[in-house]
Subunit: 474 residues, 3 copies
């Protein structure tokens, strides 16, 4: 009885204590942990000139910074403007979409530097994490997993819940990534499995557990407006344009980065055409739906996350994009409504269509491409470099690699679903300040929202003493 | 009589069959053609490490990817966000502006890789097109020609017509480019002739043939809104900021790229000041017009397309920008209304002012700069490198080069006008689903447009069963 | 009496003569001065291939262009989209925010190339300024100082006043920079002192002198709207994402750029969390304020401007960001209203909170970090390279350097305040076309503003002859 009352008490979306506490405590924890564990690596440390001499590096341009910084900045734009603006499409949740995305990404990248550092970048000599450009790209990648999860929950959770989702999501990601990339020695430079599959199922499972049967009380706000749809296109286009950088950011220097960028570029172009086709085909008089254009056009990039650095061939990339545009748009038309009605999964942004299905497809494509790789196509050196068949993996064959790639997908799925279930139950605790069912998708709950432009008082009134909200801003 | 009825039947903008068919068939054709013809070049192929050894290349950083990828991404942003958002300025055609731009660019870049490949990148050894970073930059350039043409037609054509415009525009571009750059051995790294002059006259000629005498029936929608003007500024600024990358993206490694970026940067800055000056001078009380600021400020970049990589000197660049800002703004004030009234050319975005006139001027500036080049200014090697006076062109003098540059302009004009005339007649066939005169500039025709934010039903109604469009999105 | 009438005559915001005259005359002056003084440097000149041979440079990739161009483009985006869109937050001053920012930046960068060139890049051999990529980055930096000053004045000044502000601001900046960087040999690669402290106090002093006691007559417009707040987030995010490029753009090749980027990345992330915390803590029900999120999240980048290239350690960066988020948000809550009420400083964008306080803090942090530098942390070579202890500074110790760093801050403050006072008095002359007190923050004064989307005439009227403003645009 007591317990019943605890679980079902009325929602109180006041986060005045909880949000500041969470932000302060976690940021202070970051500072302490960074103080103990994190230092510069040999390429960002002032000892670089000595390191250069020792390793016979002839020029500063060989610093990894110059290989990867342009890609890093593109990835950074995808995380903050891409994901952020993609989530501004709701007519009255644009602040929350771009703002909370900003908050959790800023927290997540610090936490990811630590968690990924412990697993991948620990210097055995002194037990410290040495960071450089590749680490901050990986931290951005890690954050992407949590932002994808946010997409499924957009408008239905409080910022505190999102911080908790990130707090648990980052370590789950780091462990999953460690198992897939290091234990199984799987290749996944653009993260079809590691980022997209994991992130999407993590978010969908949480959404399933947080199911709100009365969510249609907020139906009036769960839709886009004319301008919010244009804002969302900013996010779409920056994601679409920079996805070649995403998939090539941490692949091998030289041909690896070059090929990954080209393959992704092609797959994305192909997705656009099939998305327009299916969207038009599905509506009366062939009218296009902005939701499809904003999302399904990106599916080709997701599905190239694993195979982009392989010799999948240009037409292979086009085929992947072709299929993904179809599958993803079809998902928005059929699967999302089905999932909501019959499976009790409310997926605000349709991450199942944009990340889950294309991610799984990308993993399968990657496994097949790896399994069919051969020295005649790659050359001996090329094969060794591309799949990193070195050291204790020197004897691994492409066919075996294909099997391990498939195993990697299972790990990503398992971590997403099991992790999401656990975190979902934690997020159901009625202490996180989530909105009531009739207040979802509404910025008024967590933001000071300005009155609309339309309500500018006429000029006659300017002499009266306004005590409104704008007074403070002057 | 039958024919009469065929040509004049009422417009039916239903594209439910035609758009999906066009998208599917053409995308499948791309896949087949890529399968037969397109492979990676030696810098994006897994054999790169062997190639490196053969050519004595000491470092991966020498891969062309690292010279050009940052510029490529900037160009990519110009194509999709730059052109796309520049065309969102109409108050109710923002979806069409940014969305159809997205569609035809995604198709066009694939088609351009093929067409340009056949003309410029065919490997004689195996008859295949080998692609790398420079090819995808060139594909983006090629697409720009068609997007410029779209600017003249914005709001008056269907997406199917735009696909047809692109289908023909890309090969026209590729042939024109082949004649100008290879047959005439003209230098045009930023495409004043090849891209801007061609694209603008191609679009204007089509617009002339598709002239709508009763277009003022849509006059209520043929204008901007406050927010749509701010959206358009996103496009303007990304074009403006990244134009130095556009003009330097495929110019020579080293000083060529360096100088092209600096010259373009200066010309653009100069254009801004004269645009503001003329815009203010022309209006009552000196009020500025957003149309001028959004467009004429870019004219300096167009006009530096040919000469940017030459030793035009910093002050030469400023002079070019100075003139272009004036000419272009003047065009918006005087020439566009004149062309519409007396020449029956309806030019929605004013591409005549932004691309045609500055493009022609840029070609002339380029010809003069080339003709006056000398070894005292360039140095012997510099002159040879800049104008590529090698092989069978080793004996060409700067003066001769100037003449060929001028000939290049004529080729671009001819292709634009003749090509536009032919394609214009094809687009007049009443089967492409274009809107009626009173439905132009209206997203409602081809898009599911959300109801406005202002019409959010009051909270009282949320329990009633809404069967509206938002229900599906939940 | 006559004088009294001169100073107090009614405002007339007609700039039809003054703005075009200023733009034309100053642009022509630029052309002449560039003609006399500005040439390409050895890396952007066609003699590069000879220069390469002389200096034994083996590859074009060693051209400074490839080290700095990606960072340059990021900085360029910050100047035009970052600052521009950050200033669109007012509900009816978005045109002025982004448009006048565009104008003065385009003028300022030309003027800065000259002024900075005379002080820093004069070739003693021929008395000319030789420009390359580093110069145009520095010109963008110089412009940033004036744009910060604009932030304090947003909505209250005419474009002519802004041009005057820039005309004087650039030389003040160049002299101040010369004294700080060259005379005092201070390190300030990201400009905490040189750019932010100077720019902010320059603007605040001008605002103090231009104090408008009756500004509350415009109170109805001095606030944001829902969409204008989302537009401003575009500016915020591009500033936030690209700040690592800002602070690393001109620091040393290799580890210097690498470390500066990482440190700035971390400080910015940390600022976000404390900004959200304080913003939420300060409002009823924990509601977040967009003004804080748009601005205070950036404070960490400002404060890392000096120390980013030093070995401040990753946790040191986090601590700086932590403090700045708190101080800056606190400034918006308490100090800005205090300054307006008691100190008669009206600071529209709150530059005191975003630039002045974090800038001063950044200078102090830089001085301390420099003073505590040691060979054990930097290595001998690292210390010499980082602080440039070469030539006549070879004997300077870190402790002395710390003292000079602190002296640099005083110079920046002095130039900002004294320069601002002088320019403020010039701007009070009643000839510059500034708006009256009840017309501030209103685009109607200087722009042709389209009627709102909401006022689209119903379709019934389309046959009547409209003679409205849109007619010209068709």
């Amino acid at each position: 009885m007591q317990l019943q009352r605890f679980w079902c008490r009325a929602k109180n979306p006041d986060v005045r204590i909880s949000l500041p506490v969470v932000c302060f405590v976690w940021q202070i924890a970051m500072i302490i942990l960074f103080g103990v564990f994190v230092r510069y690596d040999e390429e960002s440390d002032a000892h670089w000139s000595e390191h250069k001499r020792e390793k016979n590096i002839t020029s500063d341009i060989e610093n990894d910074f110059y290989y990867r910084y342009p890609s890093f900045q593109d990835v950074h734009v995808m995380i903050f403007v891409g994901f952020g603006f993609l989530m501004t499409f709701l007519k009255r949740y644009s602040f929350g979409g771009v703002g909370f995305n900003f908050l959790i990404a800023a927290f997540g990248l610090q936490w990811a530097l630590l968690m990924q550092g412990w697993f991948h970048a620990l210097d055995p000599a002194d037990g410290q994490i040495k960071i450089g450009i590749e680490n901050i790209i990986n931290a951005d990648f890690c954050v992407a997993g949590c932002l994808i999860a946010y997409g499924a929950l957009l408008g239905k959770v409080s910022p505190v819940q999102l911080m908790v989702l990130t707090l648990f999501g980052i370590p789950l990601f780091a462990v999953e990534e460690y198992i897939i990339l290091h234990v199984l020695h799987v290749r996944d430079a653009g993260g079809s499995m590691v980022i997209h599959t994991f992130g999407a199922y993590y978010g969908l499972t949480i959404s399933w557990i947080l199911y709100r049967p009365k969510l249609d009380q907020s139906k009036r706000l769960n839709g886009s407006g004319y301008h919010s749809d244009v804002f969302a296109m900013i996010g779409t286009l920056f994601l679409w344009m920079f996805w070649p950088s995403f998939n090539s950011a941490i692949s091998d220097h030289g041909d690896g980065q070059h090929r990954a960028a080209i393959n992704t570029y092609l797959a994305l172009a192909s997705s656009v055409l099939t998305t327009f086709a299916i969207s038009s085909l599905s509506a009366k008089r062939g009218k296009l739906d902005m939701v499809h254009i904003q999302n399904a056009t990106l599916a080709g990039g997701v599905a190239m996350g694993t195979a982009a650095e392989f010799m999948i061939t240009p037409y292979g990339s086009l085929i992947v994009g072709f299929c993904c545009g179809i599958i993803s748009t079809f998902g928005y038309l059929v699967i999302t409504p089905f999932m909501e009605k019959y499976m009790k999964i409310q997926d605000t942004c349709g991450v199942h269509n944009l990340h889950a299905m294309p991610g799984v497809l990308g993993a399968v494509v990657g496994a097949i491409t790896a399994a069919t790789a051969s020295e005649s196509v790659y050359g001996h050196e090329g094969l060794v470099n591309t799949f990193d068949f070195k050291g204790k993996y020197a004897e691994r064959t492409p066919a075996t690699q294909g099997g391990f790639q498939a195993a990697g997908l299972c790990v990503a799925l398992a971590f997403g679903i099991v992790g999401g279930a656990i975190v979902g139950f934690i997020l159901r605790l009625p202490v996180w300040g989530d909105p009531s069912d009739d207040n979802c998708f509404d910025d008024e709950v967590y933001w000071e929202v300005p009155e609309d432009e339309e309500s500018i008082p006429p000029i006659l009134e300017y002499n009266s003493h306004m005590v409104g909200k704008y007074a403070d801003r002057m």
